[in-house]
Every structure is written in structure tokens, then in C-alpha cells.
């Protein structure tokens, strides 16, 4: 498929624990993760905290070195970078939006000095006048206008929503092809979330970028994406077209997630959800299927072998032996 822009094949990331007593202990933050991202597509990566979704984004961003597996950009294996040039070339194409708008802008810099960096590093502006125009454009693009009003301000003088807009402007500055959005709205007030989501959807169309949209909110994922991948305890459990995965969730975990999500429109209080417990420790992940400790349908085999990804047609894959 030449439409694929990014592909992960069996990528794992294990973090070594620090300290002498923890030598040889690792956190299995991400295990055997495979998926691809099409050009101009938006793929949602859904999971609870500790599911490995942020690790996945960080590994793709090159922030952490992967333990094993291969990552392809435009069909070429990438990472780890051998030279600074290679790293810059990659970062020109792949950008990331961070979760916390309050932590992702340096409090000691003005919006101008934050925003001009990508243009300077990637030598995108020919002159100071051009740079000025670019700065203004990128702020207006994210709805911060008049741009001149914002350039001289410090981050603490902006609201959370405005800061997240500055963040988004920074990632779009280099005209990337892929945006990794790590829960970009989860720390924002409810009333302004949808505005930021809409803006990202618009930018995706306008700038022809592909989105990897990371979230814990299934409904938000549905709003933002055409395909969806659900992660649990470091592994992808189900992946497929959004409507299909949500309407016909196959994996017991995805069913659980769906049953747990608030759904006011359904009108009646829902029946008790079947499963209990919480995400297991990733230092000693459960043997076999990582969900078997909480799964209401678990059989003996589930604790014995890790189920493989199974194609159930229509681009829909599930990691469950019971299917």
C-alpha cells in the first residue's frame, strides 16, 4: 500500500527500572505494537492510564528509543537517528502536541520566542520580515488574532485553551505530515474542548496531515477519527474502522470500556458492568492475554499464551482467542 505514511511493526518498549535493587526489572510499557497510519487519515489510539498509549507516541516521536521492532516512515525504516540532520528531517515531518498546556510552554519565554524557534531551527524564513509574517499567520491559523496581541505575552497571561492553541501552532509551524496528539484536550475545560477538536479537524483537512489522536475518551475518539486502536496494558487489543469497533466491539476489554463510558443520551442507568479491578502492574504483566485477570469470559488458555492479532475482516483486527 503506497497510501501508508507511517507503520509500526512489532514495536516494543521496555523501561529499565533505576536503582540497584531493581536491576533486571523492566516495565513492559509497550509490547508487540503494530499498526499503520494512512496519508490524511486520523487514527485514534484509545486506552486508560498505564495502557502505553503515551509511550507509543513518544517512541514514534523519537523521544524514547524503541527496544525492538521497526518503525517505517514513507516505507523507510527510521529511528534511531544517526545524525542531527536525520533527526531534523524526521522532526520536520512528525510533530507532537502535548497533553498539558500549562507545562508545555516554557514560563520564562514569550509566545514570540517560543513560536519562532521551529522557523529558525528548520530555516524556514528567509528574512525577519518573512519570519514576522509566518509568526502572525501561524497564530491566526489557530484562532489567536490579532496575532500581534499575543506575540509579546508570556504563557501565564494566556488561558488554558489559548496555550493549547499556541502549542498547536508550534507543531504546525514546520508543516508536518504527521501529528501525534497526546490527549490534547483532556486538561481543558469542557466548554472549549470541542472548539480545539474542531480546529484540529479543520487543520487536518486544510494541511493534509495525518493524525495519531491519543485519548482515553472513546466518544472523543469517535468524533476525531476514522479508525481506532484500543490499547490495554501495553498491547493493542482491537483495531479497526471507528464505527465498526464502537458499534460491534469484539474484545471483552473494549466492550467493558464502552459500557463504562458516560452516555447521557441513553436515558436509563445502565446495568452493572461485568469486570472489576484495574490495569495490572507492567513490571510483572499477567501471562498470556494481559486482560485475562479481569476478563469475565477468561478460559484456561487465556492465561497461557499471548493471543495473536486476528483479522476478522474489513480491516478489523482483534487480539482475543475467544473470537
Amino acid at each position: 500500500m503506497n497510501n501508508v505514511i507511517l507503520e509500526l511493526k512489532h514495536v516494543s518498549k521496555h523501561f529499565a527500572l533505576s536503582g540497584l535493587r531493581n536491576i533486571s526489572k523492566v516495565v513492559h510499557a509497550m509490547d508487540d505494537v503494530s499498526f499503520f497510519l494512512n496519508k490524511g487519515e486520523s487514527l485514534a489510539l484509545v486506552g486508560e492510564s498505564g495502557s502505553g498509549k503515551t509511550t507509543t507516541a513518544s517512541v514514534i516521536a523519537g523521544m524514547y528509543e524503541k527496544t525492538s521492532g521497526e518503525i517505517y516512515l514513507d516505507g523507510q525504516p527510521v529511528l534511531p537517528f544517526k545524525t542531527r540532520e536525520a533527526s531534523l528531517r524526521y522532526k520536520k515531518k512528525v510533530q507532537m502536541i502535548f497533553q498539558d498546556p500549562f507545562a508545555s510552554l516554557n514560563p520564562t519565554h514569550t509566545i514570540r520566542s517560543i513560536l519562532e524557534r521551529p522557523f529558525l531551527i528548520h530555516k524556514l524564513a528567509g528574512s525577519t520580515r518573512e519570519l514576522e509574517a509566518m509568526l502572525c499567520d501561524s497564530l491566526e491559523m489557530v484562532g489567536l488574532s490579532p496575532a500581534k496581541e499575543y506575540l509579546h505575552r508570556f504563557p501565564h497571561e494566556l488561558s488554558g485553551g489559548q496555550r493549547q492553541r499556541v502549542n498547536i501552532a508550534r507543531t504546525f509551524a514546520v508543516s508536518p505530515e504527521i501529528i501525534l496528539a497526546d490527549e490534547p484536550t483532556s486538561m481543558l475545560d469542557v466548554s472549549i474542548r470541542i472548539g480545539i477538536m474542531n480546529m484540529m479537524l479543520d487543520l487536518k483537512e486544510k494541511k493534509h496531515v495525518s493524525f495519531l489522536y491519543i485519548t482515553h475518551d472513546l466518544a472523543g475518539a469517535r468524533y476525531m477519527s476514522t479508525r481506532i486502536a484500543v490499547m490495554y496494558a501495553g498491547m493493542i487489543m482491537e483495531i479497526g474502522p471507528t464505527e465498526e469497533v464502537i458499534a460491534n466491539a469484539v474484545h471483552p476489554y473494549v466492550q467493558l470500556l464502552k459500557a463504562s463510558a458516560p452516555a447521557p443520551q441513553e436515558g436509563v442507568r445502565k446495568a452493572a458492568i461485568p469486570a472489576k479491578g484495574e490495569i495490572p502492574s507492567l513490571v510483572h504483566p499477567p501471562s498470556g492475554c494481559r486482560f485475562h485477570t479481569r476478563c469475565p469470559y477468561a478460559k484456561k488458555i487465556c492465561s497461557e499464551e499471548v493471543p495473536a492479532m486476528r483479522d476478522i475482516g474489513n480491516g478489523h483486527f482483534v487480539r482475543c482467542v475467544l473470537v
Binding site: 508545555s104 516554557n106 521551529p118 509551524a173 514546520v174
Partner: protein
């Protein structure tokens, strides 16, 4: 950003009074020779007057002693001039008087002048040690905190070891071995024992900042490591670095005074510590010579208070919980 930091510092009452106090001491130190009525190590004043031209060989014309502390001689220096020189020796261990507002010591030196000149040494040693230690510990903290890995393990381990070895006895032992010329050895010895604590503190701050999203975001757009360290992390450490600087300076001033007092330092230098050393060595207390040993200690405490006040202000700025409500 540094300008902003000082702006907020000036707005805070405590740190403002600390800065004013410190500024006063710095002015005294800078203009010490102008402010001191006499050179600090002199025990006499001499008045010389030209009496007449003389063409003969140099000779002493007359010599007489006038009272206990006064000599008079009439002599010719060259073949042409005849002088009269009056040498007035200061009284030793004298009480404060019009001529010597803080009295004199055992050698007849004017104590007020010594105190003024001593401000220079004490303040210089304090601030120089503060600067040096801050530089060293900040460098170590950035190296070990930002780069991590084995380097970090080694630096933190060494820091932890030296953190618990008692500093003052170590300084004394080293001080007796090291030949004391000028004040540089004292600065080095004080630095040697005061780097571990700030290093540890700054390192943990670097670790926190390093994992903040704005550093990761900058890395993501392709910033170099040097930019990340010096432009992203460092500006956020101003208040903690300044606070460490003042803390180290204060303990260096106390440490210098202590070493000098014991006689480990360079006793020929005039500083607040050596004034106290000579006071103790000459039994100032038994003579009731309070003017000899009280003022240096009070000044040390006042300088210290200036540093502490500045740090109170910094604390209140960086830790909102301590702010008066």
C-alpha cells in the same frame, strides 16, 4: 527573565530590606580605604614638616622623648632640606574615644579602621565562595541531572558521600596543611566542603525540569541539547540558584570567621575573623574590651541576616504556601 526575578525580589519587603543591607555592606567594602580613618595595620601617625633648607650632610639634629608615646627628632634628609617629624603612637588596647571610635587592639591598630577594611575580606570570601560553589554545583547538577546515566550515578554517589562527612573538622584539618597566602586558599577550602548540598538540591531541580513538557516539546521541534539546557531549563532555575548562592555565601562568611578565629586561616590578613582571633588571643574578654570582639560578630550576623532576608523573599516568591495571607 533575570530582570523579572529582581523586580519581584524588590517588591517583596523582606528581600528588599536584605538587598539594601547587603548593598550597604558592598558599598562599605568598595570604599573602605576612603571610609577608614587610618590604615588598618598602622599603630602611629606621623607628621613631617619642612623646617629649612640646609646644604650640609644628612644628620640628626636633635632627638627627645616627650612623654610616654611621643618622640621628637629634628634631622636633615638630603643635602637641601631639614624636616621635623612628629610620630604619635596610638595607645594599645584603648577604649573607644574621639580619635578611635572603636578603640585599639593590642598592637595599637585602630579597630574601627580594621572593621571597615575587614568588610572587604569577609564579603569577598563569602561572595567569591558563593559564586564558585554555585558555578561548580550548577555544572555538576546539569551534567548529572540532564545527561543521566553512569555519569549521574557517579556524581550523585560522590555527592552523597561528601554530604555526610562533617565539613568544619575537615576544613580545619585541611587548613592546617595548606600554606595560607592571601585569601584564595580559604576560598578553596570553604568551597571544597560546601559543594555537595547545593549540588544535590540543584540536581533534583534539573531532573524535575528535564521531564517537563516544554523541554520535551522543544526537543520535539529539534532544539540542540545546549539550547535545552541553557535556554529552556536554566532560566527556570534562577530562584533556586540564587537562593543557593546566598545560602553558600552566608555559610562561607561564617566558615571564614570560624577558621580565622581558630587560627587556621591567614592571621596576617585583616578580616572580621582575624580581629576576633587576636581579641581571643589577647584575652579581650578578661579585659572587658567589648569594643574589640562585639562589633565584628554583630557585623557578621548583620551580613548573614541580609542573606537570610533575601532568601526569605525568594522562598516566598517560589513557594506560594509560605506567602503571608
Amino acid at each position: 527573565m533575570i530582570r523579572d526575578f529582581f523586580k519581584t525580589l524588590i517588591k517583596n519587603k523582606k528581600s528588599l530590606s536584605g538587598l539594601v543591607l547587603l548593598g550597604f555592606f558592598i558599598l562599605v567594602a568598595l570604599f573602605a580605604p576612603l571610609l577608614a580613618p587610618y590604615p588598618p595595620k598602622t599603630d602611629r601617625v606621623e607628621h613631617t614638616t619642612l623646617l629649612e633648607e640646609n646644604k650640609g650632610d644628612p644628620e640628626v639634629l636633635s632627638e627627645e622623648t616627650e612623654g610616654q608615646n611621643r618622640e621628637k627628632s629634628v634631622y636633615t634628609v638630603t643635602i637641601t632640606q631639614k624636616y621635623e617629624k612628629t610620630t604619635e603612637y596610638f595607645p594599645t588596647r584603648a577604649k573607644p574615644s574621639k580619635d578611635h571610635i572603636l578603640g585599639t587592639n593590642h598592637a595599637g591598630n585602630d579597630l574601627f579602621s580594621q572593621i571597615i577594611m575587614g568588610t572587604r575580606v569577609s564579603l569577598f570570601v563569602g561572595l567569591a565562595t558563593g559564586l564558585f560553589v554555585t558555578f561548580i554545583s550548577l555544572s555538576l547538577a546539569l551534567l548529572s541531572g540532564y545527561l543521566g546515566g553512569i555519569l549521574d550515578d557517579v556524581i550523585s554517589f560522590v555527592t552523597n558521600v561528601f554530604l555526610v562527612i562533617p565539613g568544619l573538622p575537615l576544613m580545619i584539618v585541611i587548613g592546617t596543611y595548606v600554606p595560607m597566602h592571601g585569601v584564595l586558599p580559604i576560598i578553596l577550602i570553604l568551597s571544597l566542603t560546601s559543594w555537595p548540598y547545593p549540588t544535590r538540591l540543584l540536581r533534583s531541580q534539573v531532573l524535575t525540569l528535564k521531564n517537563r513538557d516544554f523541554v520535551r516539546a522543544s526537543k520535539m521541534i529539534g532544539e540542540r541539547t545546549s539550547f535545552l539546557i541553557f535556554r529552556e531549563i536554566l532560566p527556570n532555575m534562577i530562584s533556586i540558584v540564587m537562593s543557593e548562592f546566598f545560602t553558600v555565601s552566608l555559610s562561607a562568611i561564617l566558615g571564614e570567621a570560624t577558621l580565622e578565629f581558630i587560627g587556621v586561616g591567614n592571621i596576617t590578613v585583616v578580616s572580621w575573623g582575624t580581629i576576633l582571633y587576636w581579641a581571643q588571643a589577647n584575652g579581650a574578654i578578661l579585659m572587658g574590651a567589648w569594643w574589640w570582639f562585639l562589633p565584628p560578630g554583630l557585623l557578621i550576623a548583620l551580613t548573614g541576616t541580609a542573606f537570610v532576608l533575601i532568601n526569605f523573599g525568594i522562598d516566598e516568591i517560589s513557594n506560594p504556601r509560605l506567602r503571608k495571607r
